[in-house]
């Protein structure tokens, strides 16, 4: 069918599951931003008289923890921190990895060899192990933690973007534009980049839930976000000892983490199918 014009772009309808996922993500963000209007209590405010109240207690909509702190207020702050760490962390990895990948493909030679070697090293060390090592070596600070979480998946971006850039470089349209006399800056900015950005975008949606899970896992182990600050994982960690008696302290933040990761990856899958049905899942 070489000579029948194809592909008129039709707006695809969004499946119900993806709509629900989008609604959840929007609600989560609104909850993080404006949730503190739902409760009169601060997230560090303790009350000896209201310890381990179950959800539904008057004044404490979602109950309280062992030190009498309002779970709702803590969840709002936890959601904020989790959101910030997830987004900043994912952006760090995406920008760093993508840049390294593009530079490797553009420069070739020794630069590429060094970057590829770095990708190999990172690929043989699970990021949580690297994070644990660094947290043991250095004092745990929020900045260090953010950087470590940000390293999550950079090597995947680097590998993907290197491949995509090499492919774009060899493509007919870049050859033709080179032959037109375009400068390297023009070739990369106007022709290569717009065609490989999709891949980074899709990887972003794959990586975001992984970053959420990494942050919450480390915080759950007590090695991530440290008190007095809190995150969803850290709230779970604190409630863990009372799992049998006050399950809501652990399960509520856990379910929120799960729903968030689930929603983002569902949106990501949908985005991948929409942008490029041939692009396969990289995990």
């Amino acid at each position: 069918m070489t000579d029948t014009a194809t592909a008129t772009r039709t707006a695809p309808s969004i499946p119900l599951s993806v709509k629900l996922a989008m609604i959840f993500v929007v609600c989560f963000v609104l909850f993080a931003l404006f949730g503190h209007f739902l409760t009169p209590h601060g997230f560090r405010e303790t009350s000896l008289f209201h310890r381990l109240e179950p959800p539904g207690t008057e004044g404490y909509l979602l109950g309280t923890d062992a030190r009498g702190r309002d779970l709702l207020a803590r969840l709002v702050t936890g959601a904020q921190i989790t959101l910030v760490v997830a987004i900043v962390g994912t952006v760090i990895g995406a920008v760093l990895g993508s840049l390294l990948g593009i530079v490797a493909a553009a420069q070739r030679g020794k630069t590429e060899a060094v970057i590829v070697a770095a990708i190999d090293v990172q690929a043989s060390l699970p990021i949580i192990i690297v994070a644990l090592f660094m947290l043991a070596m250095f004092d745990n600070s929020f900045t260090l933690f953010l950087l470590l979480v940000g390293l999550n998946g950079w090597e995947v971006y680097a590998r993907l973007m290197r491949g995509a850039t090499l492919q774009a470089k060899e493509s007919g349209y870049v050859t033709a534009v080179r032959a037109l006399g375009a400068t390297p800056a023009r070739i990369y900015l106007r022709h290569v980049l717009p065609n490989i950005l999709n891949i980074a975008l899709v990887q972003f949606t794959v990586n975001l839930p992984l970053t959420i899970l990494l942050e919450t896992a480390l915080s759950f182990l007590g090695l991530g976000v440290q008190p007095p600050l809190t995150s969803l994982g850290q709230i779970m960690s604190e409630g863990r000892d009372r799992l049998m008696t006050a399950w809501w302290l652990t399960l509520l933040p856990g379910v929120i983490i799960f729903c968030l990761a689930l929603s983002v990856s569902m949106i990501g899958d949908w985005l991948r199918d929409r942008l490029d049905p041939t692009l396969r899942s990289e995990r």
């Binding site: 493509s171 037109l180 006399g181 375009a182 400068t183």
Partner: protein
């Protein structure tokens, strides 16, 4: 032609008869039926060529005979009879005993139709096992058919994996697989399209020999009337799902009735070009150009000498075709002349000025004068750029005001035969032929003095090829640029070139005016190429008579 097959009064009952076959094409297709009311028959031992371009429905017919049509293409009418009996419905289990045993099929890409992780011998023996041949008999039979298709060292081939075979060997192995159970009918779906012309000639000769030795009927699906001229007893021509012409091969070749048939035949046997205006001063010339690709590292270093001591000269306004088979280095040569590769030695001059050492801004400046049209029109355009912006990009790069450049681009769009309104659309919305027109417009926007076309029509259907070649010639008359046309297709070279360069193994083995090279090739390789080109000698005989 042998007498028994001629005419309606053939005494033998047809082996395969297709009556009024209709296959629906549900969904967004460009027509409601993939195949509409096709009827034809094949007698035992007869070769019928089913000819058509991509999308004509010819492959659908082949698949329907073997019951392999997907659910998306339901048969809605007609019937297929084989050896007097009606065929089971599509995808019926009963086909298990028909496939291979009575009707065998081979495909275009032989390499891909063999399982990459299993040996040739294993895959062939499996077919025998499936059809109940006892184990001790399998291996001798496998070696026998491998010998029958003239594969060297059948034992070694049987142990080999598909990637260890050349394209021609793989196609022979696939034909051997088809012969295993001595079928009565062979369906060959474009089996030589992916092959070089000399290999194609060998495979066609092989099929012709097997047809006689095994009294095999062949349904040969092809787009190429050259192939028809080589092997067909009878021809059926399909266009957009409809049979437009059928008859004895010689009759159709000599006196085609339908305009579509005439167009397809003209593509194989083009009218040689009438020479245009020529300057004698070389505009682009090269001396002793060498290009070596290096790869691998440490003990694994590899070097490929892609262009070896090539010298050539293109005069202003002239068209030079570089002809060669895949791997001959012709595209690498084009990339050298375009200054997309750094040559290892030699010199390239444009209007007498050395250009092989230019870098940076002077090189970018030079690019205005030497432009390119690439083979694959689907990857040659940035999918995120409208075609107007793609065509205007060259002039903008070289300093033209964007508004003027867009004005110029709009004019060029019309000049290459597209509607002026299409400028705002994206490449995906155009067909292959239309995209190639856009690529030509993009190249011409810089008003180049040399246009290098790298297999610029190879990805297109033959009737579209002819249109694009006409466009090249027409624009050349108008603007007077020189063309270097890289092609593997002798018919294309003949249609467009004043001069011919023949490349083999990175070197130029023959060059000269097109008339001379076609009429009296000097180098043995050129002679072999011409002899192998399907149909060319037949047409030469025809026009001499």
């Amino acid at each position: 032609m042998s007498e028994p097959h001629r005419g309606e009064s053939a005494p033998r009952a047809p082996l395969l008869s297709i009556e009024d076959l209709t296959v629906a094409l549900p969904g967004d297709g460009d027509r409601p039926e993939a195949v509409s009311g096709i009827s034809f028959a094949i007698a035992p031992g007869e070769t019928l060529c089913l000819v058509g371009e991509s999308g004509s429905g010819k492959s659908v017919v082949g698949q329907a005979v073997l019951g392999m049509l997907p659910h998306a293409l339901p048969v809605t009418g007609g019937c297929i009879r084989f050896a007097g009996a009606e065929m089971p419905p599509q995808r019926d289990r009963a086909f298990g005993t028909i496939r291979s045993a009575q009707i065998a099929m081979i495909f275009q890409d032989a390499g891909a139709s063999l399982n990459p992780v299993r040996t040739i011998g294993g895959q062939l023996a499996e077919i025998l096992a499936v059809h109940g041949i006892p184990k001790p008999d399998r291996r001798p039979r496998v070696l026998e058919v491998l010998r029958d298709v003239a594969l060297p060292e059948p034992e070694r081939i049987a142990r080999s994996y598909p990637h260890q075979l050349s394209g021609g060997q793989a196609q022979r192995a696939v034909i051997a697989a088809a012969l295993l159970l001595k079928p009565d009918l062979l369906i060959a779906d474009e089996p030589t399209t992916a092959l070089d012309v000399t290999t194609q000639a060998e495979i066609l000769a092989l099929i012709a020999r097997l047809k006689v030795e095994h009294e095999l009927a062949v349904l040969f699906v092809t787009h190429d009337f050259g192939v028809v001229a080589e092997i067909a007893d009878r021809v059926a021509v399909m266009q957009e799902g409809v049979l437009v012409e059928a008859g004895m091969a010689e009759d159709v070749l000599q006196a085609p009735q339908h305009p579509y048939t005439r167009k397809l035949i003209a593509a194989v046997n083009p009218t040689p070009r009438t020479l245009g205006q020529h300057g004698d001063t070389p505009i682009l010339d090269a001396t002793d150009v060498n290009l070596i690709y290096r790869s691998g590292f440490l003990g694994n270093r590899k070097a490929l000498h892609a262009v070896k001591d090539v010298s050539l000269e293109i005069a202003a306004g002239r068209t030079v075709a570089v002809v060669g088979e895949s791997g001959s280095g012709k595209s690498s040569l084009a990339r050298c002349l375009l200054r997309l590769e750094e040559i290892d030695s030699g010199s390239i001059r444009f209007k007498g000025q050395e250009i092989s050492t230019l870098t940076g801004a002077p090189l970018r400046q030079l690019r205005q004068s030497i432009q390119v049209v690439l083979q694959d029109p689907f990857s040659a355009l940035n999918p995120r750029q409208t075609i107007l912006s793609a065509i205007a990009e060259g002039p903008i790069i070289h300093g033209m005001a964007p508004a003027d450049a867009r004005q110029k681009a709009a004019e060029l769009i019309e000049l290459v035969g597209l509607s002026a309104q299409s400028g705002g659309r994206y490449p995906q919305e155009f067909s292959g032929g239309q995209r190639q027109r856009i690529c030509i417009a993009r190249a011409l926007a810089l008003e180049p003095e040399v246009l290098i076309a790298d297999e610029a029509v190879s990805a297109l259907d033959v009737s579209i090829q002819a249109q694009i070649l006409d466009l090249f010639a027409d624009l050349q008359r108008r603007f007077g640029f020189a063309i270097l046309f890289i092609t593997h297709d002798l018919a294309v070279a003949r249609a467009i070139a004043d001069d011919i360069l023949v490349m083999k193994s990175a070197e130029i083995v023959e060059h000269g005016p097109a008339d001379r090279v076609f009429a009296a090739p000097a180098h043995p390789y050129t002679q072999a190429l011409l002899a192998a080109a399907p149909g060319l000698d037949l047409f030469r005989r025809g026009s001499a008579a």
